[in-house]
């Protein structure tokens, strides 16, 4: 005679006010005990209707909006938008401008991945230490941004046809310092987390994504590479002269949270390598081409994408020869990376769901726009 104990599923709100949702994102999880049996995403708490607002401003006026979408990688967002406009209006960027853009977007990748791995380690329960160490290093990069563009977070530095200002004289020593400081820091992170049995047991085999699933769910960036798909737009579709630089694409083994973590760590190493090369071969010349302020691109459409720290960041612009874009669409990587969230969380525990969410590395400003 056996008697089974029945448990009643109930709904647990993870978010919008929760320490681990990195903003105002909400997972409506139906849990049976600790086990998640259904997960529903609720978003839009930060919706600012940027795509609509952008239709009412000129092409140049729209650049600051892109800062505010993914506020952790504003340089990359500026770059993606400027590339789209340049593609639409067939504008050439001088070599120096391209090199500066590469350096800036790679520095931005370092800063953003610092945040990502720090917050991810925080989600696994490493109480603040990795995030603080990461912030220590990120601070140096933000200082560089401040020197160069005047702002730390929302840089608004890229312009259509180049960058806003040329580099300051103190720029190069600061970047050299970052290049010196980062490898020991990455080694430190590896010692603290990658070699830690608790961290491994928390992240290995958690949120496993098969490469088929990752492709089918339109994932991009470290999520896709963690699953073993070698896809990096800097290699596949080089922009800003990325084809001149030598770097590798890190890919994971089985597509779990740990793979995404080590892929991010290795991407930081590759970024340092790219910055080194770009800084050594920084061409002289103008940093920007002259573009009329009242830019009126010809009728048509353009879809330009870059490899932002979170994945493929695309801008789809439609022009009707007006001064403002007729249609301004952002393809936000962390929004679309969430499509696989349900598949990764259902069946795991609540604690696993938090780790998976941390490994996606969402930025709510970009999800909600």
């Amino acid at each position: 005679m056996t008697q089974t104990i029945k448990s009643e599923p109930f709904i647990l709100n993870i978010g919008p006010q929760h320490p681990s949702t990195h903003g105002v994102f909400r997972i409506k999880a139906t849990v049976d005990g600790e086990k998640v049996i259904e997960a529903e995403m609720v978003m839009g708490y930060l919706h600012r209707s940027m795509e609509k607002l952008a239709e009412e401003r000129t092409y140049t006026q729209n650049i600051p909006f892109t800062d505010r979408t993914d506020y952790l990688s504003s340089m990359s967002n500026n770059l993606g938008y400027c590339l789209a406009v340049e593609k639409l209006a067939s504008i050439e960027v001088p070599a120096r401008g391209n090199a500066i853009r590469v350096i800036m977007s790679e520095l931005q990748r370092l800063a953003s991945h610092c945040m990502a791995i720090g917050a991810f380690a925080n989600d696994t329960g490493a109480w603040q230490t990795p995030v603080m160490w990461a912030f220590r290093e990120r601070e140096k990069i933000l200082d560089i941004f401040e020197v160069t563009s005047g702002a730390r977070l929302t840089c608004n530095y890229m312009r259509i046809g180049g960058v806003a200002f040329d580099l300051r004289p103190q720029f190069e020593p600061m970047v050299r310092k970052v290049l010196n400081d980062f490898p020991p820091f990455l080694q430190e992170m590896e010692d603290l987390l990658s070699g830690n049995e608790i961290f491994l047991s928390r992240t290995r085999g958690v949120g496993v994504l098969s490469p088929e699933m990752a492709t089918n769910a339109s994932l991009s960036g470290p999520m896709l590479r963690g699953s073993g798909v070698a896809w990096d737009l800097r290699k596949a579709d080089p922009y800003c002269g990325y084809e001149q630089y030598d770097f590798d694409i890190p890919i994971g083994y089985q597509g779990d949270s740990f793979d995404r973590f080590i892929v991010r760590l290795e991407e930081m190493r590759q970024s340092l390598h790219i910055i080194q090369q770009a800084l050594d071969g920084l061409p002289s010349g103008p940093h920007s081409t002259q573009v009329p302020l009242a830019l009126r691109p010809p009728k048509g459409e353009a879809y330009a994408r870059i490899e932002s720290p979170r994945g493929e960041l695309g801008y789809y612009l439609v022009s009707d020869e007006g001064p403002a874009p007729y249609r301004f669409h952002i393809r936000p990587p962390s929004f679309i990376n969430l499509s696989a969230l349900r598949e990764m969380t259902v069946g795991g525990t609540v604690a696993d769901a938090i780790v998976v969410l941390g490994s996606i590395d969402i930025v709510v400003g970009e999800i909600d726009r």
Binding site: E56, N216, A217
Partner: protein, 174 residues
């Protein structure tokens, strides 16, 4: 470099996969017939020649008299990207079949398009307003949804001192 397939190239691929699926072709894009959309994309996804496996971008565009849904689909192995479009001419009840059965990644983006354009996607497992709340009045990204206070025409009218843009083909009902 990722090769951007031109409209006729994409149309040829689509026609080879599902005959009669292409509605029209422009220089860059291939317009598919809505009734053949899912079938065509499914076929192109599995065909090794096209290998369009990764639905990169899906969004809607409003052209006053009709709306379009834009699909950017790319291949990792062939390293090319194709642009498909589907038109819907019904402004009251716009409908485009959902490609979620083919591409799971369309799930979120179709929800977003529904939320902001009001385009229904029959076949979508759970179509809801993902960014705004249920019952939000109107579809914000449609051109007749006015966001500038006092403005009649969406979009920046004109720079100062320049003749205004021509009137939109569809009059806004006050």
């Amino acid at each position: 470099m990722t090769r951007e397939l031109s409209g006729p190239e994409v149309a040829a691929l689509a026609e080879a996969a599902v005959p009669g699926s292409v509605a029209k072709t422009t220089e860059t894009a291939c317009y598919l017939k809505p009734e053949h959309l899912v079938q065509t994309l499914e076929a192109l996804k599995t065909s090794p020649e096209a290998d369009l496996v990764h639905l990169t971008n899906l969004c809607g565009v409003d052209f006053w008299d009709h709306m379009e849904v834009v699909y950017h689909i790319q291949s990792f192995v062939q390293n090319h990207i194709a642009l498909f479009k589907v038109e819907t001419w019904d402004r009251e009840k716009p409908e485009v079949p959902s490609v979620t059965p083919v591409f799971h990644g369309a799930w979120m983006q179709e929800n977003e398009t529904y939320d902001l354009y009001g385009i229904k996607f029959p076949g979508h497992p759970n179509l809801y307003r993902i960014l705004l709340w249920e019952g939000y009045p109107g579809w914000p990204l449609r051109k007749d949804f006015l966001s500038m206070p006092g403005g009649l025409q969406p979009g920046l009218g004109e720079f100062a001192g320049v003749a205004p843009r021509q009137e939109p083909p569809v009059k806004v009902i006050e």
